[in-house]
Point group: C2
Chain length 435, copies 2
């Protein structure tokens, strides 16, 4: 592939370093080869050149928690608490999802995520071979796991076998864009003995784990009643935290829980919008950050959010904790941007360099239109990006140096076909069961 | 003007009535003349026809609180508490604002608001003749007030005189798109005697009042210390609530305060994002709604939000109170949409019909692109609009039957000129004062 040259009006290298001046970026072999000020000084022959003088380049956003194919269930159940929402609406619809549905639902999610500046996402669901195929085709990065539920022994065993197979097939596939993790759903769906097996398999495959932890108060109470300790303490005692773990939600935490997370270097995926919408609560993010815990941001699935827009999560992470703690300095714009980029990359166990625009780093770059009214004027570019920007300003998206969106047009996905298939599948989902 | 005909794929008539089928809408003389299912059955000769078969029409959004020209200060001070933010950052910059700056800053706000589906907004600022001129040119509706501060007697008197003059010039101007209200800033900037004069002038001019009330805990404490009662009780005792009043913020309220607001039919502008970002807190909106109080939504100024996107306020109003109250039913999607449309219209004292798509109502209509991935699939259209849509889906905006945006292109505003002038003005604002 020819090297790609970007001319942009400004660059956010990371959450603390901004060049507010014309800059060129050269991408080659999937990585950033060069960043320099002004125009590229040598011949641009044999380069793909993108002239974007009124754009700012930022690191691609990293969505640290979600269930991609749940786009098919967007709006299928709202204004309901988590457990009722799961059992009355989501599980019955999910029972009808096919491999085909997961494939198209994941493509819809990839379309939405690319169009809103996300270059890497995590997924925990089922029919994951089909989800992985969608990721490979879309050109985005995916940190994927087979969702594991261990309530029935045989299903639990099958899940572990499927995970082993999934890792063999997909870990490092699609030019390394796909990475595999283990995906035990939660302590309330995975009994202790099963979680120990998950930890063992994680060690054997040398792959990290992602799991839902302490999302609702009720879940924590149940765990304390059943196991005599919090979900966090239980995971430690089961040896899960001896492995690299990304814990989603972490809304209801004691001081002891936070100390355990910090001590075992457990990463946290903060999903502010999903937690609000399901009435789960508000994670103590300022305390997590003060404890030195790596916190990334996630949208969660589209059934509980209901979109996959990381700009909203960034903004909410930066504003919500200010309002709740009556402290306008609680989480700064720079901290929120880091959570969506460099810290998010750490949280999902990507190699160093991800989430920053620097020479040698993977070329995952998003361009925002500085001519848009919401980004005018520029007193502080990071502030504009975190507090004002939205998906509407995303014009171009590169992953591993390849353009997935160019001036608003998707290059890898047949969006008309996705629309058609999604509408077809949802008609089937909503049809009454045959008698 | 010729009648305008819209063919759309679906219509949200109001927060509780949706037609999920092809529909035509005829607009004439600023109002909706006809709504019918399918295609318009008669000749379309002599009509301006907009074919938008993949769009949904919704009522234009109503922004119930803001300071439009503060777009010029977007990002000028963040991650700071309200009072320090006001005194250290905002007031010094505002002191340098000129009439010219307010004109261009207001045009920037109008551009941003039109592009994000807002058809009516409120404003309380200074150089309001220039702001009104911008509103007249932009084609949007404005409920405008001269910001009144009564800390110095002479300035206070001038403000009242200016208000009188402003009402005479602008109330009902621009085909009735501009309405004037009185704008005393807040109890901590308007002493009791001054507020009494404001109430008197409001009665004399027969115009409503808008004011900031109980935004921060500190402000309420100060009021109790100085006046022996809360800001809400003080306003009642000064006779302000004998007049129609729109109270912005109302974050820190006692049960007595809520009873007073309900009893006097005071309207509330809820600004969830601004209140979070400034660390002010979270207004008790579910309790206000249960008390039967009219609540609209506002963005507040772009210096404290930092954008003017009403989709975000809708979404936050629908999700924030669920998370804070651990109750996933706290504010429903339908309630949030009503706050942004029909209830918002009531809140800012527009005539009945505003904020709904019905025959005879003002033709303020916004089209959203249903082919966008974030609006796919449709299980529940209201849910998609409140929980998933954003400014990115807004394609066409009509105010009083006139297209202000068509397929993403602004028709009334010279956006390149606004960009140029805003950048010029901000350079001046940021320049060090001459020695």
């Amino acid at each position: 592939m020819k090297p790609t040259l970007l001319h942009v009006g400004a660059v956010v290298r990371d959450a603390d370093h901004v060049d507010e001046a014309p800059t060129y970026i050269v991408m080659e072999n999937g990585r950033i080869r060069e960043i320099g000020s002004g125009r590229y000084p040598r011949s641009t022959e044999d380069m793909d050149v993108y002239e974007r003088p009124t754009s700012v380049a930022i690191p691609g956003l990293i969505n640290c928690h979600g269930h991609a194919a749940m786009t098919l269930l967007r709006g299928a159940g709202d204004d309901m608490p988590l457990m009722r929402w799961l059992h009355d609406r989501i599980f019955p619809l999910e029972a009808k999802l096919t491999a085909d549905a997961v494939y198209w639902g994941t493509l819809l999610a990839c379309w939405e995520m690319i169009a809103s500046g996300t270059t890497c996402f995590t997924d925990m669901y089922f029919f994951m071979d089909d989800a992985a195929r969608a990721v490979a085709e879309a050109g985005i990065r995916g940190v994927l796991s087979v969702g594991l539920v261990g309530l029935q022994e045989e299903a639990g065993r099958q899940g572990l076998a499927r995970t082993r197979q999934f890792a063999r097939t997909w870990h490092g596939a699609a030019d390394g864009r796909i990475r595999v993790t283990l995906g035990p759903h939660a302590p309330y769906t995975c009994p202790p003995r099963y979680l120990e097996q998950v930890a063992e398999l994680s060690a054997e495959l040398d792959l990290p784990i992602q799991i839902h932890l302490s999302e609702t108060a009720g879940e924590v109470e149940d765990c304390v009643r059943e196991h005599g300790r919090s979900p966090i303490a239980l995971m430690r005692d089961l040896g899960l935290f001896a492995r690299p773990v990304l814990a989603a939600h972490c809304v209801h935490l004691s001081e002891d829980d936070i100390a355990i997370l910090a001590q075992h270097n457990v990463h946290v995926a903060h999903n502010p919008q999903s937690n609000l919408k399901l009435g789960s609560g508000i994670a103590p993010v300022p305390r997590l950050l003060r404890a030195g815990i790596t916190v990334g941001l996630g949208t969660d699935g589209a059934a509980s959010n209901n979109n996959l827009d990381m700009f909203e999560e960034m903004r909410l992470a930066a504003t919500l904790h200010k309002g709740v703690g009556l402290d306008a300095t609680a989480v700064t714009a720079s901290e929120a941007l880091a959570m969506a980029t460099s810290e998010g990359a750490k949280a999902v166990f990507l190699e160093p360099g991800h989430g920053r625009l620097q020479v040698g780093a993977p070329a995952d770059i998003v361009l925002l239109d500085l001519d848009s009214p919401v980004l005018l004027p520029i007193h502080n570019l990071i502030s504009n990006i975190v507090y004002s920007a939205s998906a509407a300003q995303v014009t171009d998206v590169f992953v591993g140096g390849r353009a997935l969106m160019s001036r608003g047009e998707l290059t890898t996905l047949d969006t008309e076909r996705i629309r058609f298939e999604v509408r077809r599948l949802v008609k089937q989902l909503r049809a009454p069961a045959p008698v």
